[in-house]
């Protein structure tokens, strides 16, 4: 038996060493999480508008069209708990932040990243350590080896660009034409995929959002919750219970908190088919339109806040 254990250890050592090397090489491949983390490190102090959230924000908010210095800090499948973690991590660096844009979508309260492979991106590149499962602390173990192999070949052999983000954090993935843009099929598919099987995550996500609101309150940041437009083929397949839960909660947060505003653009008729990349994500034209709308909303809030401040300085606080 002793001989067997020694042989197994000897056999395993080079494999372990190689795994460490491959892990290191995988982490060196540029990716969106790494590039956004670097942007936070270098420019967080300059941001006046920060957008977090998931792919609806990732595809829909192009900071170029904001009047203020903005940054899109969203990622595919980023959920409220990780929005909170990013905000907490960079809170002290975001000295000039005035507005936080946070999408509340159909799936925002029912989905939550906790034990999925995406967690490793936050652990490795943002250094946000919430999950102690070794699988979610490495590149090699978090995904099937086939994916890691594909990644290595794509970057080191085929020299394919792996980052899909510009310097303001906006996704370049949606800049091209979608060859499979069948809004009827995609609308149903996306709505079904985003419909939660149960509502177990709602209370945890509500708590995360409450903490975001508190943090914004302490830092004097105005939080703008917004629901992005969805194509009618997507909207007609949404589960009414889940949708109403999201709408009710969002309105309630805006009502109860002075620093929170809610803008519901889900059925905004100004967004036409050409503004969509697929049934619930945006083309570059759609992102420009959506960002411009939010920019106007921010400006209105700004004007309104300045008037309130002026009134208070003349008449005193009520």
């Amino acid at each position: 038996m002793k001989k067997l254990f020694i042989k197994i250890i000897l056999f395993s050592l080079p494999i372990l060493a190689l795994s460490i090397v491959v892990e290191h090489i995988l982490r060196k491949i540029p990716n969106d999480f790494q590039s956004k983390a670097e942007q936070y490190e270098k420019h967080a102090g300059d941001f006046k508008v920060l957008c977090l959230g998931e792919s609806h924000a990732y595809s829909g908010i192009d900071p170029r069209y904001l009047d203020r210095r903005g940054f899109n800090g969203s990622h595919f499948s980023q959920t409220l708990n990780y929005d909170l973690e990013i905000l907490k991590k960079y809170a002290s660096d975001l000295k000039n932040l005035e507005y936080l844009l946070l999408p509340v979508s159909y799936g925002s309260f029912t989905s939550r990243l906790e034990n999925q492979w995406e967690v490793k991106n936050y652990t490795l590149y943002y250094n946000i350590r919430g999950n102690h499962n070794i699988r979610y602390n490495t590149e090699l173990l978090s995904l099937p080896l086939e994916s890691s192999k594909e990644k290595l070949i794509s970057y080191y052999m085929d020299h394919i660009e792996m980052t899909k983000t510009d310097s303001l954090g906006y996704s370049t993935y949606y800049n091209k034409e979608n060859p499979d843009k069948n809004l009827v099929e995609l609308g149903k598919k996306m709505a079904v995929a985003q419909t939660g099987k149960n509502f177990d995550n709602v209370s945890k996500n509500v708590k995360s959002l409450e903490e975001i609101i508190k943090l914004c309150g302490r830092k004097n940041i105005t939080l703008i919750l917004f629901t992005t437009p969805g194509h009618k083929e997507y909207r007609k397949h949404l589960d009414s219970r889940q949708l109403n839960t999201m709408l009710t909660l969002s309105k309630s947060f805006a009502r109860k908190n002075r620093n929170v505003h809610y803008l519901n653009l889900l059925e905004d008729s100004s967004f036409i088919a050409a503004d969509f990349y697929d049934a619930d994500h945006f083309s570059s034209a759609g992102a420009k339109k959506l960002t411009a709308k939010l920019n106007r909303f921010i400006n209105e809030i700004d004007v309104s806040d300045k008037r309130k401040t002026a009134r208070m300085s003349v008449f005193g606080s009520p």
Partner: protein, 490 residues
């Protein structure tokens, strides 16, 4: 949990360490608990219950049969116990099929009348362990083996996890003595076991699952193809099936070997068979021996007065039942019927074939053997059309369009060949796939050369190069999107 799943790579070493740690008299218990845990991982609570029932029933029935005096009572006990086992198998696996077909038949005579269709049941491993139970009872009846006295040993014989899901179908006389024997750690057994296991994993996850890329797009949408893609997919399936099942078997044999147990080898170069009879001596050996011993031979004995006709009929019936065993579908029945027919036809022409070869002076020629191997292989591949097709209609489409390469003269595209190539041969943008296949085939050839014993006799540096080569081939080239084995469904 299957042999190629992540969890099995934790399960097996844990069981092995526990097995080593406990006293010898409790080792059977460790394996028994591990086997039921393994079966339980399928998350079908009824299955371990059925296994426990079949085990308990067969153990008690075996004792009764053994003690019964020779004569009618002994025969009746055997018949009763076999029928109970078969009833369980029919109920769990074939009831839906029987009711569906009954309703089709009844529908032809009286509209609106239909037997309510039962819910389909998951029946993984049932065919294998029930056949094992039946062979145990029959062997006791025929005096081949005695009744096992230790219920724990018998339970382990029935449920031993390396062979539980897809066989081999072990005989009591082969497995029980190994279970009873005191265990001594043997380093060579462990080496053999690990090598067999990883070789099997390579065959399944690298070779068989990669070949599936050529088979599945065609067989899952047969109407879109005619001609060459159908032919390529059919031949590819022959290799996919073999590597998948042989891969599983090697992993089963390897896992068992770690515990000092040698299971029956299930394959012996089946595509080098020079006749259908030879094919069944080389393919799924434990199963073919079972149907030979417990179905064919009794039938042949019963119909011996009809000479060749009796033998031919016995073969057709045996393989018809073999088709049924593989699945509750007419495609499997036809597959079995084809095999039975080819075997039956051979019984008639075999004596004339020998005379003819001798007359032509080619009876000892190597070329005639090559010719026979080629013909057998092609006929076996033809039967695979029915084995793999989803429906009879699909199988018929394939059969009638195999050589239909001129369905449309105008465009090459319409015969599906260019799409087939674009979708499958260049799969995943990996133009290297041909190179990989060639390398794999070369490696298979080299390792095949050594598969029996000689690799482990080679110098240490050579062995370790092969071990690392095998390990990295598996790690780099494994396909992870197809976890299940093909014979899992039987």
């Amino acid at each position: 949990m299957t042999f190629n799943s992540f969890s099995y790579f934790f399960f097996l070493p844990v069981v092995f360490l526990l097995f080593q740690a406990v006293a010898d008299r409790y080792r059977w218990l460790v394996l028994l608990m591990a086997s039921y845990a393994f079966y339980g991982f399928l998350l079908q609570p009824s299955l371990p219950v059925i296994l426990a029932f079949v085990t308990t029933f067969s153990f008690l029935a075996g004792k009764r049969i053994y003690c019964a005096p020779a004569g009618n009572k002994k025969k009746q006990l055997l018949l009763f116990s076999v029928l109970v086992n078969l009833a369980i198998l029919v109920y769990c696996k074939y009831l839906v099929f029987l009711v569906e077909n009954m309703n089709l038949l009844l529908g032809a005579f009286s509209e609106g009348f239909a037997i309510p269709e039962p819910e389909p049941m998951v029946s993984i491993a049932l065919s294998f362990f029930i056949f094992q139970a039946i062979s145990y009872l029959a062997d006791i009846y025929f005096g081949i083996t005695g009744a096992e006295g230790h219920p724990g040993h018998f339970a382990l014989h029935m449920s031993f996890f390396p062979k539980l899901l897809q066989g081999p179908i072990e005989r009591a006389g082969a497995l029980l003595p190994q279970i009873r024997e005191p265990y001594r750690f043997n380093y060579d057994d462990v080496r053999h076991g690990l090598l067999l296991f990883f070789w099997g994993l390579f065959l399944k996850s690298v070779v068989a699952d990669r070949i599936a890329f050529f088979v599945d797009p065609v067989y899952n949408n047969v109407r879109a193809y005619t001609g060459i893609p159908l032919i390529i997919a059919t031949y590819a399936y022959a290799f996919q099936l073999y590597f998948d099942f042989a891969g599983y078997t090697n992993m089963a044999l390897g896992s068992a070997r770690l515990f000092g147990i040698k299971l029956t080898q299930n394959f012996n170069s089946p595509y080098l068979a020079n006749s259908f009879a030879d094919f069944w001596r080389r393919w799924h050996i434990s199963f073919s021996r079972w149907i030979l011993d417990y179905i064919f031979q009794p039938l042949q004995m019963k119909w011996r007065n009809f000479g060749n006709n009796g033998t031919a009929l016995a073969l057709v019936v045996t393989f018809l039942l073999s088709g049924f065993w593989h699945g509750a579908d007419w495609t499997f029945v036809i597959w079995g019927l084809l095999h039975g027919t080819f075997l039956a036809v051979a019984t008639y022409y075999k004596p004339y074939k020998k005379k003819l070869h001798r007359k032509l002076g080619i009876d000892k020629s190597r070329w005639i053997t090559i010719f026979q191997v080629a013909v057998t292989f092609h006929l076996v591949c033809f039967t695979y059309i029915f084995f793999r097709a989803s429906t009879i209609g699909d199988a018929w489409h394939i059969v009638t369009n195999l050589f239909n390469i001129y369905s449309n003269y105008t465009t090459f595209k319409t015969i599906g060949l260019s799409e087939f190539i674009a979708a499958n041969i260049l799969i995943g943008n990996r133009k290297m796939v041909f190179i990989i296949l060639i390398c794999m085939l070369s490696i298979i050839g080299i390792v095949y050369r050594y598969r029996h014993t000689t690799l482990l006799d080679k110098p240490g540096w050579f062995r370790w190069v092969c071990y690392y080569g095998l390990f990295f081939l598996i790690v780099i080239f494994q396909i992870t999107t197809k976890p299940n084995f093909i014979y899992f469904q039987f």
